[in-house]
Structure formats: C-alpha cells, structure tokens
C-alpha cells in the first residue's frame, strides 16, 4: 500500500467544564440535570445592573490543569468580552480571555503501545478560562419551530485547551483526547462526561497535499463540530480527510481561497455537513471587561499549585515499568484505568511482594470483573489486602492459578476472605507425607507408566496427575509430578 499523497493536519480545541460547585462569575450551582432555568440569578441571567465576581476556585483548577499540560502561567491575566448575539447568551457577550490567557505554550505527550504512530508531544498553544453559554432547545418536533432556552449552564466555568495543529492522523487525535481526558481525571478537575457536555471537542483539519515537485500545498481549514464521543471524533476526521482530498481534486482550492468553513458531524449518517453560517458576525469585537479586575498570581503561588499536582499518567506508566517491572502494555492498561486502579495495584504488589503476579491479576481478573459488572473500583468488593491473601496462597503452592480463579469468584460472590473461600471450596494444603503416600499408591497401580518413564518417556507421568487430582482435588499438580518421578526413578 502506498502512502496517501498528503499529510493530515489536525488541531483540536477542547472545552472542559471544570468541577466547581458554583459558576464562574456568580454563586449559582453548576449541577447537571436539573429543571431548566432553576440555577440562575441576576448575574448569569445578564439582568441590568448585575456584576460578575470571579470564582477563584475555577481559576485555581485551571492553573493546575495548565501546569499539568506543561504550560506557562503568566503572573497577570485578564478578562475580555467576546461580543455576539445569540439567545442562549443573555448578556450579548461571553466573558472569555483574548490576548492575555491564563496559560500558554505547553504540550501533552501521546504514545501508541501498539505502534499505530510514533510517540510525540502535541503542542498546547494556550488554555484559557471562559464562561459557558446556555442551551437552546429547538422544539421543531412539535411543529411550532419554537426555541426554548435553558440558562442553567450559563456561566459554568470552561477551560478551553487549544492544541497546535500537531496531529497527523485521526488515531493521533483520538490518543490525544484519551490522554487529555485521563490527565483531567488524575487531576480531578472535571467530570469529562461528553454526554453531559462537560467535555466538548472541535477539530480543525486540513491537508498538505504533496505535488510532483515535492511541494506541499495547504488546503482550506475546516472546523468540525458536534462530535459527541471520541469514536465520533475519529470517524469524523477520517471522513473529513477523505472528503477534503476529493474536494481538492475537484477544485484545487488552497487555504485562503475560500472562507474557513464550519461543518457538523452527523453521527447517524456518518458524515459532516456544512453548518448554516451563524447568525453572528465573526468579528467578536473583543474588549477588556471593565466589570472585572485582572487576575494576578505570584511565582510562589504557581509553585504551590505545582506541588499539589498528583503523579500523572505518563510518569506513572514509567514508574510501573521501571519500579514494578510490568510490561509497558500492562502498565498502560492499569494507568489508563485511572488513579484508583493504580493505587489498588500498588497496594496489591506491596502486600504480595510480587508485582508481576499482581499486575497480571489486576489486568486479567480485576479489570475483567469491573468491565463485566460496569463497576467503579470503589464498588469492587475485594480489597487489595484480601486479594493479596489469595495471591500469597498461590505463591506458597497452596493452590494453583486456576484454582485461584475459582477462589476469586467465590470471594466475589460470597463476599468472603480468601481463607473462607478456600475452605468453602474444600481447598486445604495437603500434608507432605499424605501426598507422598498418595503418589506411591498411584505409581504402584500403574506399571505401564513406570516402564514408560524408565525407558525415557517422562511425559507419561502426566497420566498420574489426573488420577491424583481425582483422589484429592487439593493436590498441586507440579508437586505430584515431581514426587511421582522421584518414586519411579528410585525404584
């Protein structure tokens, strides 16, 4: 397969709703899902005379996030009015940040454990804070073409994270989003729920088409909106790349030849459509908001926030490989589950003293159950200590791995300790001399096996293991094998 004759250029703008109790400029609740217009006040309704007062908590969460994205935090930032008319924007302007954002010049590292793309740092141009608009609900179903406005969301703090156009494929874009969401989860700054709109993604995409003379020609940039899942982002980008190349072949339009277009992803039809030009002009007449004072932060305060940042995914992956000897793949799986699973693993490894065994059990059994039951780790009934007891019993040969899994299931369903579950399943350690007696009895009852082994076919002893297990299900197959061989060889 030959490479396509173009590079894909993707930049992402991600809006993250910050986890604050109250809105950015008033004290209304930010809770999701309440009846329309029940979380409003004169400030977020934009009533005459009302004034905004900044919620410092939102700024602090933004600083933490920006630091985790390796951004610079200027000592001074200010608020600007982005002016346009829309019914879900009651003031006629959105309070945002224009030329002096609260952070800039960062990056986020992305990698692909299965080698879809090379590891890279995606640049972050800036992350700035702004207030959310309300929601317009177009009620065309009733044939009235009415639009109803819910202003509960108006004024909720949003962090807009703008990447450089550094992504070269839909897969990279998806990896960026997944890594960003994971980072936000570790920082505990957002719910990151795309369905509830707490994480929204717009993509800017175009192509650099290669010519025969090895030139690269940039095609017009298209902004893609309305992508409601990471899968939708990936599909929309694939679609858009294909569409743009076809348009290029038809029209030869270069960047600047046509105005920047906005297209919406239709997940049902699996295609993008040009969106009707907004009712607003693109000239937002940004203007410093005279109702708000600039925000200042000292280097010492920035440093204090830096100290509050927990271990982040990239560092944790490295740690699990370097200090716990996990494979990069297992480390990735565990870290991608979030900080609670990582902590569970670390505790398990500490108690068992065997990180590899612990990693395999977390990855294999614990995560399987979480997925099947659709549980959060907090709902998982077996503590790390409890699971460690089982793993230690396995280490000590009290039972083998597959019996261990049966015990694990029993612990889950009965909610009991490893010891109780093993007892319930009749698993007890077989006494050494009893085991020896059992093996001698079976060996002697199988002269064919004896002669096979004696003539050099050690594998023949396998037939004895099954017989031993039938007589006592608690025997350790490896031990049985070795004892039987010893007996035969001593004959």
């Amino acid at each position: 397969m030959t490479n396509p004759p173009y590079d894909v250029i993707i930049g992402l703008e991600v809006h993250v709703q910050l986890r604050t109790n109250t809105k950015l400029f008033c004290r209304c609740s930010t809770e999701f899902g309440n009846p329309p217009n029940t979380q409003t006040c004169p400030v977020c309704l934009g009533l005459p005379g009302a004034l905004p007062v900044m919620n410092r908590k939102a700024y602090e969460l933004s600083v933490k996030t920006a630091l985790a994205l390796n951004c610079n935090i200027p000592n001074f930032t200010k608020w600007d009015r982005k002016q346009y008319y829309y019914p879900d924007l009651p003031k006629g302007y959105q309070i945002s940040q224009f030329d002096l954002p609260m952070s800039e010049n960062g990056y986020l590292a992305i990698s692909s454990p299965d080698g879809e793309f090379e590891d890279k740092n995606v640049g972050i141009i800036r992350a700035h804070l702004e207030e959310d608009a309300g929601k317009s609900m177009h009620d065309e179903a009733q044939g009235l073409a009415d639009t109803r406005i819910d202003l509960n969301r108006t004024g909720t703090p949003l962090l807009e994270i703008v990447s450089e156009p550094d992504m070269r494929s839909a897969e990279e874009a998806r990896a960026y989003l997944q890594e960003l969401r994971l980072l936000l989860t570790y920082l505990d700054v957002s719910d990151c729920n795309m369905q509830e709109g707490s994480l929204r993604v717009d993509a800017n995409v175009n192509l650099h088409v290669h010519t025969e003379t090895d030139e690269k020609i940039a095609t017009p940039i298209v902004e893609v909106k309305n992508m409601n899942s990471f899968r939708a982002v990936e599909r929309a980008l694939h679609y858009e790349v294909k569409r743009q190349y076809e348009i290029w072949q038809e029209t030869g339009n270069r960047i600047g030849d046509v105005p920047k277009q906005t297209r919406g992803w239709d997940d049902n039809a699996q295609l993008t459509r040009a969106q009707r030009e907004k009712e607003e002009s693109s000239d937002y007449r940004y203007f410093p908001d005279p109702d708000l004072v600039p925000v200042t932060i000292t280097n010492e305060q920035v440093e204090a926030f830096q100290q509050q940042i927990p271990e982040l995914p990239a560092a944790l992956r490295e740690k699990l490989v370097d200090e716990f000897s996990l494979t990069p793949y297992t480390a990735d799986v565990i870290v991608n589950q979030g900080p609670e699973v990582v902590a569970y693993f670390q505790s398990l490894a500490e108690h068992t003293g065997d990180a590899k065994q612990s990693g395999n059990w977390v990855q294999g059994e614990v995560l399987r159950v979480l997925k099947e039951e659709d549980w959060e780790l907090s709902e998982f009934p077996i503590s790390a200590e409890g699971l460690a007891d089982l793993l230690k019993a396995i280490q000590q040969g009290e039972l083998n791995n597959s019996r261990g899994k049966e015990v694990f299931s029993e612990m889950l369903s009965a909610g009991t300790s490893a010891a109780d579950a093993m007892a319930a399943l009749g698993i007890e350690k077989v006494d050494d001399s009893a085991l020896e007696d059992l093996c001698r009895e079976i060996v002697m009852a199988n002269p064919k096996v004896i002669s096979d082994v004696q003539s050099g076919n050690e594998k023949a002893v396998g037939a004895l293991i099954g017989q031993a297990k039938q007589k006592n299900p608690n025997v350790n197959p490896g031990q049985v094998r070795q004892i039987c061989l010893d007996i035969i060889n001593a004959l």
Partner: protein, 503 residues
Amino acid sequence: MIDLSATSLLAKLQSGEVSSEEVTAAFLDRINAVESRVGAFLKVNSESAMQAAQAVDKKRRSGAPLGKLAGIPIAVKDILCTEGEATTCGSRMLEHYVPPYNATVVEHLLASDAIVIGRTNMDEFAMGSSTENSAYKPTSNPWDLERIPGGSSGGAAACLAAAMAPLSIGTDTGGSIRQPAALCGVVGLKPTYGRVSRFGLVAFASSLDQVGPMATTVEDTALLLETIAGHDRRDSTSAKIDVPQYTASVNSPLENLTIGVVPSHYQDGLDTEIESAVKEAIRVYESLGARIKEIEMPHAQYGIATYYFIAPFEASGNLARYDGAHYGYRTDQQTMLDELSEEANQTDGAGESPLVRMYRKSRSEGFGSEVQRRVMLGTYALSEGYYDAYYLKALKVRRLIRADYDSAFDQVDCILGPVTASPAFRRGEKTNDPLAMYLEDLYTVNANLAGVAGISLPCGLTSENLPIGLHLQAAPFQEEKLLKVANMYQSATDWHTRRPEIQ
C-alpha cells in the same frame, strides 16, 4: 419644613419636634404643588413613602435603633435597580422591567431607614446632558421652566432645587451628577471610582460610572455619601478602603489648604459671568487663608474626545443585553412575521432570519436616537482593524490624563474650576447638535477618566438668575478633604441657600 436641610430635619426628627410622617407629607404636598411644572419624577411613591414614614416613626417610638437617614425622604434616579419597582433608565426598552433584586446603594438606603419618595427622570441610559433624552418626558429647570436641568441626573437635581426632596441619588459617567447640580444650583458629588458599589446600577460605561450623593448642602452630601459608600463583594471594582465618618469632619476647615487653578479653564468659550463667579470663589478661598497655585493639565483638552470613545465602547457591550430575547421591549411578533413573509414573497425566500429581525426591530424601536448613536459609535470603533487606532489610543490618553491629576495632587489639595462653560440652556436649543451637547461635559469628564472625586456646589447666579456651579476635584479617596474644602466655601457664602421661585 421643605426648605430645611436633611441634617436639620434629622435633628427635628430626633428631638421629636416633627415626625417622619409630617416630613414626608410635606414633601409629597410640595410634589403635588410643583411637579406638574418641573417633571422631575418618573414615579412618585405617595403611598409606600407614607407607609415607610409611619413605620420609621413607630420604630423610633419603640426605641429600636435607627439608621443614619431615619425618616428622611430621598429621591432615587431611575437607574438603580429596586426590587419589585419598575426601573426604566428613562428608556422604552425597560418600560415594564421590574428587577428581582435591589442595588447595593438601594439596600444601604433602606437599611438607613430613608424614605424613598420617588424615582427621578433621566436621559435614557444616562446618555445625555439635558434630560431631553428621556423616553418619557423632559424635566424643567426649576429656575427657568423653559430651560433644561442638565443631565443625565436632571430629575435628581431638579427635585432638590424645587424642594421636592431633601436628598437625591444621582449617577455620574462624564458629569451627570455635577453638571445638573451646577445648572440647578444644588450640590452633587461624584465619588472616586470604586468608592460606591455599582452593583445594581444599570451600566452605561462600567469603568466610568459612579453613584453619588446630591443635596442642597455640603453637610447633607457628606451624610448621604457616608450612607452609600463602602466595599461591596458583589462589585469587583469596588475598593476595599474604609469609609471615613464624613459628617464628623465636614465642619472642620482644612489646615494649610492649597488650591490648584488651571489657566486653560478660562479660555474662550467660558461664559464671562461664570468666569467671574468662579474667580470670586477663588478670592473667597484666599480670604479663608488658602494658597492658590497655578497648575497645568496638559492632556485635559483630549478628555472629551477620549471619553466619547471609551464610553461608547463600553456602552455598546453593556447595552447588547437589551435584545428583546429575555426581558424588556420586544417588537410585535405578528407585525414582524407579516413583514418577513411579505419580503419573502418578493425575494424568493431569501432574507433576514426571524431572530435577526427580532433583534433589529426590538433595538431600533426600544432605544432612542442618542442611545443608538452611541451604540453604533462604540460598535464601529471596536470593529476589526480599528481597535488599536481607537481603543488602545484612548486608553493611552486616559493614562496621561490620570498622570496629569497625579502630578497636580502632588502640589495641591484640590483643583478648582467651573463645572460648565455656560448656564442652563433652553430646551431644544442643542437637540440637533450632538457635538455641542457633548461639550457640556468639557470640565467634568476628566474626573471620570482619571477616576478622581469631584463636587459641584453653587457659587453664583447669572444676570438671568440662573445658577452657576463651582467644581472642586480631589485625589482618589480624598472625599473627606473634598467635602471639608467645599464646606469651607459654603460656611463663608450663602449661594446654596438661594431657591428659585417656580413660575
């Protein structure tokens, strides 16, 4: 009784000589007698004021603690939100708008047990200098009913001059307290930016707007400022600076007073009678032992031009919310839809969306021409490509003007000068000449641009018996000094005691 100052009335109320009910009834009677000729009020609270007065009297009899203004009637400019009372800003746009909350200043007044006697007329959204831009009615100057009272706090000044209220609340963005105070012969103070909360003051130009006290004496002005000033956590721009007891110090003269005089104030264009009245005031201060020092304000001449960029920039944003979507005036839906469908027939369906048409018509019909002029000016000057040339340049000049003040106040305690270039003009005289109207703010805008404090007090009458105002300005948060210096003048003169005969 209606000729007494608020301070005197308070003394009589406290001694039990009169009741608030009697005081309030006296002012309501006066309103009944002259308001039809003056037109200072958009709403008179006849009933609720009497009820409030009775409640304060009862509270006083019970011995309960009373607020600073207990039982004193006060008029409030119709731009301060008052819960449950229509707050129109002199605009059709807000004709039926009833706020669900009180402005901080209104809360201070209610907590002080003042009796809110009515809401005063104003230029629409405080844009104007004559109160002719009110969507509802003009207000007459009580000294000459053919003349304007100034603006935008025209009703606020006129009701004092006509003795319809002893105290009044105004707002000042470029001179809107001081100019009408001068033209009506009363006292008006524009506090330092940040001294009084703007929460609930319907915004015109946020970085310039201040609420301030108006009264007939400096002492009353001090009393009212003391009541309304102070930090408010609901206004990020309000200052966390303690409020002095202005009334405690207002009667002590300022020792070693140095007054600054700006020679360029007395150039062509200043009415000669005003010039001689102001110069006479300088002599009064000299006789009181003040040192007079000439100072330069080299950038003052750019004040008007700068103001008429900055105020419209901010106004164009602040007034964007009046779009007919959520509250306030909305164009008639049926008429609009008929109009659109008729147009669609002619243009094959192309044309404006109903939403855009709703915005356009609601704003065109709801705003008067001066408001539209300033919104368009601000919108244009903030458009792409003009930002640096207009906004950034205006900001630079603004900083230079502030620097002029800073260096002046290194040398002098107060700057003295005229408030207006001419006395009150006749109604309609400048209606068709917006630029001439804008020059009404010539001597006052710089205080707003620099954020300093300024006061206007009566200092004479013209040969046509029209009041002349004296302008004193002091450094930020030096209201205490400003009030002392103003009161030195009033203690030595009697211009503030003159009242018009209402024809």
